[in-house]
């Protein structure tokens, strides 16, 4: 018997499997390419640090920049104080007076958001390259040495992204996110082979300043201005390159509340921005990005949610309702039937096709996780296996719930929420 539930599940399964297989093919085709090139010349670099009430981390962030393996006189740090009402301003002023041999600039603006802050910094920036580093992120000293040579390959490269790792791994949720970041880096690396990156995350994305100025700077009224910029670069056929050779460490939410808030902003931002640039959707001019990846970004969430709703309805809600009705009809005398149920769970009642298809997807996912870890030179046992297993089973549900919340918000027209 073929039901609507079956059809939805199969179509979703086919699309999901196809996507996994596709990116696995890309991986086997290209491998993980590392850059070992030396920097030929040292261009001037401007690093913007937007900060809103960051008194606890701002000093550490600035010092992680001062430790950069790069000539002191060839980079500047522009801290944009976005109307903080804590001690951010005083702390930065202190650092400036202490570290006189470095170029550190403090811009105070009244609270007007990260996009505006970045544009302010962009206007003051003297560098050939413009970098954005969130105040809750920290870099490793080799960052510029590893990132800048990549720009020499191609004038069309608009932004180069370091890999992101999670700095604070205290709670279980954070450990699962640690796993997620590893896998995301790997996925973005594969995407960048086909010029398919659709996001340039805040932490230490290095832009060619001339290009983003030509494109009009950062969007100021956007939930996710980094994603918007990435899509704008894509729209004008500039390239986004993901590196796995240098790390930026970033702090992440420690509890579910913070997590859901952050994901709500990210995912809502991605839906709204993909819709903003919908002319690229299914547009042949944009190659793999327009025809395949961008639709995936938009529809993956919709399909996943549909699957969630359908499976909760037909594999949980309906059977439970039915069972309640049955148990009521026999006056709760359930023990009488225990033996009967045990008899009915047999090999005979299994559906081997479904089992086979599930096993295949699990194996492919596991192999992708394995390759991702290998590309990061991380052992699977890092942080023990439990978070990885948690990532595999629980995390996807958390992500789906965040998506459900996003669609719920969008449906009732609640768009701007920080």
């Amino acid at each position: 018997m073929i039901t609507l539930t079956n059809i939805i599940m199969w179509v979703a399964y086919f699309i999901g499997l196809f996507t996994l297989v596709f990116w696995l093919i890309v991986f086997f085709e290209k491998g993980v390419i590392h850059t070992y090139k030396k920097l030929k010349r040292h261009p001037f670099v401007s690093i913007a640090v937007p900060a809103y009430n960051e008194e606890s981390t701002i000093e550490e962030t600035i010092y992680s920049l001062l430790k950069l393996d790069y000539p002191k006189n060839l980079f500047e740090v522009i801290v944009v104080n976005d109307g903080s009402n804590d001690k951010t301003k005083e702390i930065v002023e202190n650092v400036i007076s202490r570290e006189k041999e470095f170029n550190i600039v403090l811009i105070n603006q009244k609270n007007s958001g990260k996009g505006a802050g970045l544009n302010n910094a962009l206007a003051k920036a003297k560098g050939e390259f413009f970098v954005c580093l969130d105040a809750d992120s920290f870099i490793t000293p080799d960052a510029l040495q590893k990132i800048l040579p990549v720009f020499e390959d191609d004038r069309k490269i608009g932004v180069v992204l370091p890999m992101m790792k999670v700095k604070n791994t205290n709670t279980f949720l954070q450990k699962m996110q640690w796993c997620e970041y590893i896998i995301n880096n790997f996925a973005k690396k594969l995407m960048s082979y086909l010029d398919c990156c659709h996001v340039a995350p805040g932490p230490f994305s290095v832009y060619r300043k001339e290009i983003i100025q030509k494109l009009g700077g950062f969007s100021e009224d956007n939930l996710t201005e980094d994603l918007e910029m990435a899509l704008r670069l894509q729209k004008h056929n500039y390239k986004l390159i993901q590196l796995l050779d240098t790390v930026v460490y970033t702090k992440i939410p420690l509890n579910l509340k913070g997590f859901f808030k952050q994901r709500n902003r990210w995912y809502k931002g991605s839906v709204l921005n993909v819709l903003k640039y919908r002319q690229m959707l299914f547009n042949k001019k944009y190659g793999d990005f327009g025809m395949f990846h961008l639709p995936t970004v938009l529809f993956a969430a919709i399909i996943a949610l549909l699957v969630l709703v359908v499976s909760i309805y037909s594999y949980l809600f309906i059977p439970i309702l039915r069972q309640i009705k049955n148990i009521l009809a026999i006056n709760f005398d359930v023990p009488m039937l225990m033996g009967k149920w045990a008899e009915r769970v047999s090999f005979f009642n299994m559906n081997l096709m479904n089992i086979f298809l599930i096993v295949v997807v699990v194996l492919i996912t596991l192999s992708i996780i394995y390759f991702a870890y290998k590309s990061h030179h991380e052992r699977l046992a890092a942080h023990k296996y439990v978070p990885l297993i948690g990532y595999f089973f629980i995390y996807s549900i958390l992500i789906l719930l965040s998506w459900a919340w996003v669609f719920f918000d969008l449906a009732r027209g609640k768009v701007q929420k920080w």
């Binding site: 018997m1 073929i2 079956n6 086919f14 499997l17 196809f18 297989v21 596709f22 093919i25 890309v26 085709e29 010029d195 056929n237 042949k284 001019k285 944009y286 190659g287 793999d288 990005f289 327009g290 025809m291 395949f292 039915r322 009705k325 049955n326 009521l328 009809a329 026999i330 006056n331 005398d333 009488m336 039937l337 033996g339 009967k340 008899e343 009915r344 005979f348 009642n349 559906n351 081997l352 096709m353 479904n354 086979f356 298809l357 295949v360």
Partner: protein
Amino acid sequence: MVVEVRSLRKRRYLFAFLITAAIFLIGMLVGYSFNIQKENSLNEVMSNQRMDYDSLQLQYAFIDVMKNNGMCDGISETLSKSVSDLEELRVRIENYNKDDRFSMVDYQNLKRDYLLAQIKYWLLDKQSKEICRRDSVSILYFYTNECADCETQSYVLTYLKELFGERLLVFSIDSEFKEEPLVDILLKTYGVNEFPTLVIEEKSHSGLLESDGLKEEVCSYFKDSVEQCK
């Protein structure tokens, strides 16, 4: 101005599609070959059933001819067990049809075989009751796959069957199975036009009967005092 068109390597997509389709195909083949196994085992169980029936029928005939009621107890047990085995088989056949979308090969035949067996046993039960003066109640249960309360009714019947053991015999008839003309005959005989309908001994009840009501009804037919009815 040169209009830039970015690369789209179709071959990669084709390759991914072929691999995905191949995985699906292998899955279907695995499922299909397993179904053949299932069908074989169902057929085997069915042919054993037929043999059991023949044997039972002969045993009753023997008792009838020899007027030897001493053997009745053992045979009643066998009859009751055969009927509940048959019920297990019904559940299996129906689950099998629900789960699998590809192999309907012998489903109709299997189902028909089963139905005939049910009716044969029902008749045998009627005859043997007179021969052996057995104190049991038989229920003819008419259901359809779509009817809202049928699942609950089946559940209640399974429950009561567990409760009464060999004193209760249930014969389930899929009322939509028109391939077997006997179904129609039974429906007309008992004037069934609503589902679920239970024919307890010769009395017909339409609509869902929950465990309490059904138990009471069943108990009213026992001649001896039965422990479960107290």
